[in-house]
Symmetry: C2
Subunit: 295 residues, 2 copies
């Protein structure tokens, strides 16, 4: 079964004439006549009654016509959909983000995406650093919002912004009185840490910061998310060094203070597979830049 034949058949059925249909199809009449007869031979039954004034569908022809039009439309819609997806006008983008960015970035990012790519399905999943990397690699997420970036040969990275580290302290702590906290004041205090540095690059950035200033802070607890970290800070378990944007989700009773003489910051990055060439990714990147800039 060939779509060309079906297309010809539909044309002849609509024009009720081989000649008229041939004209509309920009071809000569005889080959069209031949194609119709071949179609009839393939089906094994006449599809038209030949009269002296054109052609007329038989019952079998009407049965075919009812499906043929739909099949043609569906095929055309298929290529159209494929083109639209390839052009980034339709499709699906799945975003893996980290908890720390949820409150700061998503509220700005999502409307931006909806405006830029209205026909595209958006999916969001809050994922740990290691899961984001795995899901990028197995393609079950399209892009990841990371802080800091994922480093992997298969993964491409675009920096879209940076966040200074700040100190999260209970509002009742004496440190909260300072407008900024000198690094030296952290010496020896208990730290609420994120997962081990080998599992979470954000954590290793904090460690590097402390090491560079030769500060030692005993790890009081390890937690999964900045939210848990802030809860423990509020409970008085220790202090946390967190990206500034985390304060958007901070509970009452926690304040963020800049770290004096520490200009360290942590990158916010968009990461995706090097071999994903969807134009959606470019668009996503632009949206993410805008969203972070307005943060």
């Amino acid at each position: 079964m060939d779509l060309r034949r079906l297309r010809y058949f539909v044309a002849v059925a609509e024009a009720r004439s081989v000649g008229k249909a041939a004209e509309r199809l920009r071809m000569a009449q005889p080959p069209l006549s031949v194609q119709i007869r071949k179609l009839e031979a393939e089906i094994g039954a006449p599809l038209f009654r030949r009269g002296t004034r054109g052609m007329d569908l038989t019952d079998a022809g009407q049965a075919l016509l009812a499906r043929a039009g739909e099949a043609l439309a569906l095929a055309a819609d298929g290529v159209e959909a494929a083109r639209a997806v390839a052009a980034g006008k339709r499709g699906r983008i799945s975003v893996g983000y980290m908890f720390a960015l949820a409150n700061a970035v998503l509220p700005r990012l999502i409307p931006e995406l909806r405006r830029s790519i209205p026909g595209v399905d958006l999916h969001f999943a809050e994922l740990s650093a290691s899961t984001r990397e795995a899901r990028l690699l197995d393609r079950s997420v399209t892009v990841a919002l990371c802080m800091p970036a994922i480093h992997h040969p298969e993964i491409q990275v675009a920096r879209v912004g940076a966040q200074p580290f700040m100190l999260a302290v209970p509002i009742r702590s004496p440190l909260a009185r300072l407008s900024s906290v000198p690094m030296a004041r952290l010496q020896g205090r208990p730290l609420i840490a994120l997962p081990r540095p080998d599992q979470d690059p954000a954590s290793s950035a904090v460690m590097a910061l402390l090491r560079r200033h030769q500060i030692v802070m005993p790890v009081a607890s390890r937690v999964e998310t900045v939210h848990s970290a802030m809860s423990l800070v509020l409970a008085g378990e220790g202090l946390a060094i967190l990206p500034a944007c985390a304060q958007l989700g901070a509970p009452r009773g926690i304040v963020f203070r800049p770290l004096r003489d520490a200009s360290d910051s942590i990158d916010i990055a968009v990461c995706w597979r090097r071999d994903s060439h969807s134009p959606l990714i470019r668009t996503f990147l632009k949206c993410a830049e805008k969203a972070v800039a307005r943060m």
Copy 2:
């Protein structure tokens, strides 16, 4: 857009490999590879990611695949439906019948048809003689049940049975006492007639019967249907000469009596356009023969 390409595309997508798909399609690998690339060129975007271990759909490919399978199925279904209609396994048959046969034939005919051609839509319309002919000619009915047959160069006829003429009399009439009525007893009595002979061949058959026996019956009323005729007979307006099968729909108070020494009968026939070649008509004919035989 060619269905062959779509078929190939679906095969490769399912096999996730050009080689495997080529094997399943009973063709060599290189031409299949070429066809896939042509499809990609036509769409203007890659549909597969080529890895070292086979092929993998891109998002655009998935969008196409979703429609392609349906389009293929629809096209296949279309030819299947056309074949089924041509073979008389599906389709539609529209039957024009006359009132006089409704009670006698339809209750036996319809179940017979349902058994023989279960997938076929049945339509019935009670039509006058002239309308049956017109509707046959313009194809708005497929077959007509007639008594007697339609004569027309475009219309083919098959006799499926015959009905003797009988006399319809009120049960209180003295004629009702006779087991059969001699023709001579009709002389001069008022007749309830069907439409004028030039409009209704059944009526002209009755006139011929009377003429042959040299009986004159004044026409008391002309009615459209045997049912009306029987109502008037019951009202004492006159007598009616009707096909025997009409007694099935006779009201209480009407009896039918054979006409002694008149062996006239009227044919029951199935009529259809000479250029209608649907096998449904053959099947219908068989069913009608059975139904009439069991009458």
